[in-house]
Symmetry: C2
Subunit: 334 residues, 2 copies
């Protein structure tokens, strides 16, 4: 298989490193596995015979790769190359219009190229359109890395709860707000101080709105609802309350009654993201930057998954999606 990787940031690089580290595992599924192209926002490198992955992860900038750098070339050029089978899309998330990822995904799927992505934007904006394009193109669209990082929620439901109907989902889906609320719970700090600390530690951006106003969590709720509960939910459908108005008094009061205040995304009759009281002994009540997803299913009852929601662990999810495509292609060949 010929792979292209769009985006050479934290995830793009991490995935290439994982391809190298797990080369043996990959070759057992596909002897002809090659990364033929990698792009960033300024250009791309391409080699139809396969790029040298060791050299790739050694360079700071794509332009430093020894050969074949095309300055000004775009991801779209890579998608149009002959014989591309799978695109790993890892451009930055943009939840307003999903670009540039959305355009790349549409193009790839229309050409019958499998898409694996860790980018929420396009899925929030156009989930059902992209799923239809994948179906028409006879290819897979996998997005394990978009929600709750290393927690394999989508493949779990797809492969491990095949006979179950998912009745309800609730989750702690944003690590930054969980970090802030955990500091308020355990250290008694105010929201402002906990936020400042999160900014200093690089856990959140200088403009923290995306996290603390629940925008990120709402995006994840949209994807979960569409992918796992067959809903037709858009970002505007999520009733959204962030954590800016959670006071230390409220947190302390909750704590004294054995509750913690958590930013919880819920998909039930109502679809919402809001601060909620969670009993401290409930499996969903995880702390620090951890994420958790709680599923209620008709046969399995209640299952909770806990893990890291962001960071290098997300590479596990992207790699698993790539291996899923390789495995199903290997089976087709017999």
């Amino acid at each position: 298989m010929n792979i292209i990787v769009i985006g050479f940031g934290f995830i793009g690089r991490g995935v290439i490193e994982a391809f190298l580290r797990k080369a043996e595992r990959i070759r057992r599924l596909d002897e002809d596995f090659r990364v033929v192209g990698v792009s960033d926002s300024r250009g791309y490198v391409y080699d139809s015979e396969g790029l040298d992955l060791k050299r790739l992860i050694g360079v700071d900038e794509l332009s430093q790769y020894p050969s074949g750098y095309c300055r000004g070339g775009s991801a779209e050029d890579l998608i149009e190359m002959e014989g591309v089978d799978l695109m790993v899309e890892a451009t930055p998330t943009n939840v307003v219009d999903g670009e540039p990822g959305l355009t790349f995904m549409r193009r790839a799927l229309r050409r019958g190229i499998h898409v694996v992505t860790s980018n929420k934007g396009p899925l929030v904006v156009a989930f059902h359109e992209l799923k239809s394009l994948a179906e028409e193109g006879g290819c897979q669209l996998l997005f394990e890395g978009t929600v709750a990082g290393a927690i394999p929620i989508f493949s779990l439901v797809r492969e491990s709860l095949q006979g179950d109907e998912i009745l309800r989902i609730s989750g702690i889906l944003n690590g930054t707000t969980n970090y802030i609320l955990s500091r308020m719970h355990f250290e008694g700090t105010s929201f402002e101080i906990a936020l400042k600390e999160a900014q200093e530690r690089g856990i959140t951006e200088r403009d923290p709105s995306y996290d603390v106003d629940g925008i990120d969590a709402a995006c994840k709720v949209v994807i979960l609802a569409n992918a796992l509960m067959n809903r037709d939910v858009r970002f505007e459908d999520v009733e959204r309350t962030g954590i800016r108005r959670v006071t230390q008094e409220a947190v302390s009061l909750a704590k004294r009654s054995n509750f913690a205040i958590k930013l919880v995304g819920t998909i039930d009759r109502r679809i919402e993201v809001a601060p909620k009281l969670v009993p401290i002994n409930h499996p969903l009540c995880v702390h620090g930057t951890l994420n958790a997803v709680h599923i209620e299913a008709d046969l399995a009852g209640e299952i909770t998954l806990v893990g890291y929601g962001a960071g290098r662990e997300t590479v596990s999810a992207v790699l698993n999606d790539v291996l899923t495509v390789l495995k199903s292609e290997a089976k087709k060949k017999g």
Copy 2:
């Protein structure tokens, strides 16, 4: 596909009910899905055209099924019938010699019949032998229901952590002891009273040794180690300490320091089951009859799964295994 169900107890019946309830889902994968035989310890019913599942779940005893009851017939007769494709094995667990399930599984696998089981015994006694038989027979051996009931730990690792190496597993794998320890933690009762309560509520047997001496948890550790970490572990290799000597004093002391005493199975350098101090804010620290499995993987980091470890939820795991076989057979046919 022609299915036989061995065992008509809680799980056997539950699985047949699930086949009925999820008939549409099943037929999408296999139009020719039929349960052709069901056995209990006294006989079997058989119909090569497929049994009437509604009637089956309506009877108290297999012998009351309207036609084809063979008194004194055995599961082995069913396995020898022409055209059987898959056996659901749900006889009672026997961890001493794995019988009668072990004999049934060996026979079935030698005939190239896929095996799905919720019965720990045969896997504890002969894991690698059975896996080899399955490989030689070109068929699948799936056993999701044997460990931690509805928690899909085996399929999660197989399908959702394909690129990961599992470095360490620890888990709360026995609901009865977790119930007892939770009562001691939250209600301040003694071990003896909590045990009596568990017996009265039907959570444990009159002879509670299997649970409280860690035998059940050790069996699950054996299966996890062999299946997920490629070890060659036997029951005798597990260092095992039960919870009989856990005092209320110890539980209270732990609680005051924000720990709970839990019966934890660990697969690391040492393979053991023993009461351990677990920080109350750790994801593994679940209460009541819940089970939890904590995995450390090289890429995904730490993932915890929480769910019900026994009871009707186990049917979800067995059904998922059956659907996994159907799906892979459907793919083979193209």
